[in-house]
């Protein structure tokens, strides 16, 4: 898995946010469009794309997109 692909999957979940403004250092919870439903979508996307069980607290413990990616990566193996 690559971080670029992960960022693309992540960005796809947003409707209003310009994809070019999201990169690995983005503090995603500060994005205006961020919501509890988007959090659920992130969990569902990670399940669908990576077959990894992600939890609400994983999102809570993450600040940047890279933080999310690192957790997913650590569970892929």
């Amino acid at each position: 898995m690559s971080i670029d692909q992960f960022i693309e999957n992540f960005t796809d979940l947003f409707d209003e946010t310009d994809p070019d403004t999201i990169n690995e250092t983005t503090s995603f919870k500060d994005l205006e469009e961020w919501s509890s439903l988007l959090a659920l979508s992130v969990i569902a996307m990670i399940d669908e794309e990576y077959d990894v069980e992600f939890r609400g607290e994983d999102i809570r413990n993450s600040n940047t997109v890279e933080d999310l990616y690192n957790i997913v990566k650590s569970r892929v193996e």
Binding site: L40, S41, A44, M45, D47, E48, G56, E57, R60
Partner: protein
């Protein structure tokens, strides 16, 4: 003789999903109201833990292992059941998932346990005449899918809405044998199901504040409603979905 229209003394009641949450509490509560209770679940150890908490003053409680999503298990269970005056079908699961991720596979897994499993058990209990004349069946549904439509609850809610629909048809058809069928539609109840980690504890605590009565339900709230529906106090009630949500859906 003490006046108590809610007594379950002399009744035999089946409780599915009895190893945790609403099922466990319902089984214990029914036994404390005097019922002989037959409990079932998948996990022997946890089922036994519930069995140990049943009221020892009533004799003849039974525990039967079965996975409600396995047809052979359901058929075997129905064959082993004593004649029943009541049943509380609690076995179920939840899923929090935005609809755009709700694949057929997700729907199937949710409907298997929340819809097809209780429907098949109910069908066989009626067909094989395990349910005595005048028996009362309580299905644990949800406000989700009929009274509340929270984002992320669609797959789950649809399975419970389907269950509420069948509940009404069963109430009409099974009235031929005076068998009553009702459902309980709880809002969020503090059980292992909602504390599975998909939603953080902080979010749950915040959400609970949106309930007019200021809290999520407890399993005992649901168990008490089940006692009412199983008892002769509700003898004229069938085909009803009893909303139990601290005012959330108002």
């Amino acid at each position: 003789m003490e006046y108590n229209p809610f007594t379950l003394t002399g009744k035999t009641v089946l409780v599915t999903g009895a190893s945790s949450g609403i099922g466990q509490e319902s089984a214990i509560a029914c036994s404390r109201m005097g019922a002989k209770v037959v409990i079932t679940a998948r996990n022997q150890e946890r089922l036994h833990a519930t069995f140990d908490q049943l009221n020892p003053e009533v004799e003849g409680h039974m525990q039967l292992l079965a996975d409600m999503t396995v047809q052979q298990d359901v058929e075997r269970l129905v064959g082993e059941l004593p004649k029943l005056d009541g049943a509380v079908l609690c076995a179920g699961n939840s899923m929090t998932l935005p609809l755009q991720f709700g694949t057929r596979e997700k729907f199937d897994s949710m409907f298997d346990i929340n819809f097809f499993a209780p429907v098949e058990l109910l069908r066989l209990m009626y067909k094989k005449k395990v349910l005595l004349k005048g028996a009362s069946v309580v299905l644990i549904a949800s406000i989700g899918g009929t009274h509340s439509f929270m984002p992320g609850n669609g797959v789950y809610g649809a399975s419970k809405a389907a269950l509420n629909s069948i509940m009404r048809y069963a109430a009409r058809e099974y009235a031929a044998r005076m068998v009553r069928v009702n459902s309980i539609c709880p809002g969020m109840v503090n059980t292992p199901l909602i504390h599975d980690g998909t939603i953080t504890e902080e979010q749950l605590a915040e959400d609970a504040k949106r309930y007019p009565l200021g809290r999520y339900g407890e399993p005992t709230d649901v168990a008490n409603a089940a006692i009412y529906l199983l008892s002769d106090a509700s003898a004229w009630m069938t085909g009803h979905d009893l909303v139990l949500d601290g005012g959330f859906s108002l």
